[in-house]
């Protein structure tokens, strides 16, 4: 891997330089020896797959995370970013995709939140000055609007402008933007690009995270590619092609110690989704899953994968389209889906999959209560026996079924979520990021479990941001982009490059 330095024509002294930054979370190395420099007046593109380390890097820049190792230099001097206040002092501001504005305050109040100019009486705010100052900041970035407008009434693009104005008013010299065009129309994108050009001219450095190739080439002065928490390369747009960039992003390694047993012949149709649309932003989804198959559902975070899973399970209302299970249409709340044999293993296991303060046993039988007790009379001993059986079968490491489930490790918690659907006798399992936050050994166990489920006649639809997992585990996969299915990949076409290519914008 080349680690050639790319010189800059703008200025020899970087505004900010990271050297050897590492950050480890339990079970995953989010950043591994990452170095990069940001120069005044440049747009520095940050590129990488989901989970490559972009967000972690961004959070270290803004002081939300503290690096485990590595050094930070600002204008050649060594500094430490241990809090958001540190980041602010260094002139770093982050524009997240989820804005941090207070919806019911006006633009001026939002810009100066927490540092309002004091009025003459103690405890009051100098309203006239705040409006005047806000107007000046807004004019400075070319945003013509009345600063007394309530933020809640603004559109996404305008709120983004307010965020940028707020950052500039705090003397930000480094602006980190996380997919800033994701929710903008073409016209708004043009305005944003004009503003970025203006900020560049003022010497502001912009770290720009994007999944859109066209932007990367149109805006970027330099491109840093991350993969598996490591810096893979740093290039100039003129020196690479989009295909070369995609190849740099993919090629992650995976430690899979279990073999997947692919069925020779897919079984009968279990799930058929036809033209499914929902208010959550998905439209015209066509998906089929057969007995014995693990079908991948991939695409970037935010492309609508979770929304498809929730719509199939009845967790979000469907506007148009049809969901057919075992040849019969299905609609309604999750209790109906569960009764028909659909299982959802949600992405956020702690908030959506488990009652953390309840016992392992209670969580294991919760979806099977009616099946286990058709008379509706609950027998704790019988429930305990069922739970003990599942604990043995899935090898859940817990002292007993009475242990509070919140005390188990991530992998064992995930087994409990899967176990409750085994108890319920589900036949279609929808996994949403089943290995998120789980250590490597437990991941293999979870995949072996999914493999066994489909070998025994179930069907699985699996969402994962880990392309390599999809390639390794799935019979075939659908790739989503912007709330639609962008393409289908058969087993023979299932490569990381193909997934990334279909999932990204190539306008």
């Amino acid at each position: 891997m080349s680690d050639r330095a790319v010189g800059t024509a703008v200025s020899p002294v970087p505004l900010l330089e990271l050297r050897g930054i590492s950050k480890t979370f339990p079970g995953v190395k989010a950043l591994d020896d990452v170095s990069f420099a940001i120069y005044p007046g440049e747009v520095h593109m940050l590129l990488g797959e989901n989970g490559a380390g972009k967000s972690s890097l961004m959070k270290i820049l803004c002081g939300a995370y503290t690096a485990d190792a590595g050094e930070v230099y600002a204008k050649g001097e060594k500094v430490a970013i241990t809090s958001t206040a540190d980041a602010q002092t260094l002139g770093i501001a982050v524009i997240f995709q989820e804005f941090s504005l207070v919806p019911f305050l006006d633009i001026a109040q939002n810009i100066f939140l927490g540092r309002e100019p004091k009025g003459r009486l103690p405890g009051t705010i100098d309203r006239r000055r705040i409006l005047r100052d806000a107007k000046r900041v807004l004019d400075g970035i070319g945003f013509d609007i009345d600063p007394s407008v309530i933020v809640d009434t603004l559109g996404v693009a305008q709120q983004q402008m307010v965020e940028i104005a707020k950052a500039i008013s705090q003397d930000a010299r480094i602006l980190v933007m996380d997919e800033p065009t994701a929710a903008l129309s073409d016209r708004e994108v043009e305005l944003l690009f004009a503003l970025i050009a203006r900020l560049k001219a003022d010497g502001v450095a912009i770290v720009y995270i994007s999944h859109r190739m066209a932007e990367v080439f149109a805006l970027g002065d330099r491109i840093t590619v991350l993969r598996d928490g490591r810096r893979i390369d740093q290039v100039r747009p003129a020196d690479v092609t989009p295909d070369q960039l995609v190849r740099m992003m993919v090629g992650r390694t995976i430690d899979m110690t279990y073999p997947r047993h692919f069925a020779e012949q897919p079984g009968e149709l279990v799930l058929q989704v036809k033209g499914l649309s929902a208010l959550t932003g998905i439209s015209g989804i066509d998906i089929e899953v057969r007995r014995g198959e693990i079908v991948g559902l991939c695409g970037l975070v935010g492309s609508g994968r979770t929304e498809v899973a929730r719509a199939i399970f009845g967790a979000d209302p469907v506007t148009t389209g049809e969901i057919i299970l075992d040849g019969k249409p299905i609609s309604g709340e999750p209790d109906i889906a569960a009764r028909r044999g659909i299982a959802l293993i949600p992405e956020s296991r702690k908030s959506e999959g488990l009652a953390l303060l309840r016992s392992v046993g209670d969580n294991l039988v919760v979806s099977a209560l009616k099946k286990l007790f058709p008379s509706r009379l609950y027998d704790p001993n019988s429930a305990q026996r069922t739970a003990d059986g599942l604990i043995r079968q899935l090898r859940i490491a817990t002292p007993s079924a009475r242990q509070m489930v919140g005390l188990l490790s991530g992998g064992n918690q995930q087994k409990v979520v899967i176990g409750k659907w085994l108890a319920a006798g589900a036949k279609l399992f929808i996994f949403d990021e089943p290995t998120r936050g789980i250590d490597v050994g437990a991941k293999s166990e979870i995949f072996a479990l999914i493999d066994r489920l489909v070998a025994e006649g179930a069907a699985a639809l699996m969402i994962s941001s880990e392309q390599i997992e999809i390639c390794h585990v799935c019979d075939r996969a659908y790739v989503m982009r912007d709330g639609r299915v962008a393409g289908h990949l058969a087993r023979s076409e299932l490569t990381e490059e193909n997934i990334v290519r279909l999932g990204m914008h190539h306008e």
Partner: protein, 325 residues
């Protein structure tokens, strides 16, 4: 792999489950209060006084037991007192008009249950937080009852009907038998039915409960309807005991019922608590008030003492629960 993230040291009461330990402490507290009171005042241990305490506690318990189910789902029903008043006035009217206590009792139960069902519809279909929905319902019910009664009192019921609240059977007041029956039914419902388990699951994490296939809205409707019906039942006992119905009889009922639930160890955050705990809570509350009467302590101090007991009970619960997580 080491798989258990944290190995909590076994708590001193590990021979009991957490809930059982909480109950054990509460019974101990009730016993302690009894001992202190029997030393301080010899008339405390008289049969008449003990039966009186049980009868008083049963009235609080009827309202509080239904409320416990609501609180188990992390909800609250502030309309129970007002519901008792309206149900009592309607039941009283029916008995007066028809002369039939059975019709009157049915009216009280149906009225109470209907109010509860309306609360449930507001909480589920209209997605109004239960605190606000039932608070609004409290005013609505008060308004309806005051308009309906127009300052009148319904007075004087058949002797048979009055037995429900004031009569004795084999030396025990009838409300005490009702207390035992509903304590048993409530405990069985909460601990030994699928619906009870689902109610605990909903309170522990409503999102996970829904995504586990539990029909959350239908269960909530059930819970609020039961709470209302129990208020209806309480209205019958009040009517029978007081031998009269007025618009304002519910005003001092809601807050003590909530106190009994909280003293009984049911968490306002849902998912934790038992019907039996609520019974012990009602008992502790009644014992303390009874003791204060016996010791001739000015009744004006009673709200203050109740408040302190609630705060201490909830504080101790949170402390031990934090120790357990």
């Amino acid at each position: 792999m080491s798989d258990i993230a944290k190995d909590a040291p076994p708590p001193p009461w590990s021979f009991l489950s957490h809930n059982a330990a909480q109950l054990f402490y509460r019974l101990l507290a009730a016993l302690l209060i009894c001992i202190v009171l029997s030393i301080a005042n010899e008339s405390f241990l008289s049969l008449g006084n003990i039966l009186n305490v049980l009868r008083q506690a049963s009235l609080t318990f009827f309202i509080a037991s239904g409320l416990t189910l609501v609180v188990l789902t992390a909800g609250l029903d502030l309309s129970v007192g007002a519901n008792v008043a309206l149900s009592a006035c309607l039941a009283g009217t029916v008995i007066h008009q028809t002369g039939s206590p059975v019709l009157g009792i049915l009216t009280g139960l149906v009225a109470g249950g209907t109010v509860g069902l309306m609360n449930g519809v507001m909480v589920t279909a209209m997605r109004i937080p239960s605190f606000i929905a039932t608070y609004g319902m409290l005013w609505v019910l008060n308004g309806v009852t005051y308009w309906y009664m127009a300052g009148e009192t319904i007075h004087g019921f058949p002797a048979g009907f009055r037995q429900i609240g004031s009569g004795y059977f084999l030396g025990l007041p009838i409300p005490v038998y009702l207390l035992l029956v509903f304590l048993a039914i409530g405990t069985l419902f909460a601990q030994r039915t699928v619906w009870g388990q689902e109610i605990y699951a909903i309170g522990a994490n409503p999102v996970a409960a829904r995504l586990s296939g539990i029909p959350v809205s239908r269960r909530l409707l059930l819970v609020y309807t039961v709470s209302g019906t129990m208020a209806g039942l309480a209205s019958i006992i009040f009517l029978s005991r007081l031998n009269s119905a007025e618009a304002d009889i519910g005003e001092s009922l809601t807050l003590p019922a909530i106190a009994a639930v909280l003293i009984g160890g049911t968490s306002l955050f849902g998912g934790v608590g038992t019907i039996f705990g609520t019974f012990v809570g009602a008992l502790i509350l009644t014992l303390v008030l009874n003791g204060m009467n016996l010791l001739s302590i000015n009744a004006n101090w009673q709200p203050l003492v109740t408040g302190i007991i609630v705060i201490i009970a909830v504080w101790l619960d949170m402390k031990t629960r934090r120790g357990a997580t």
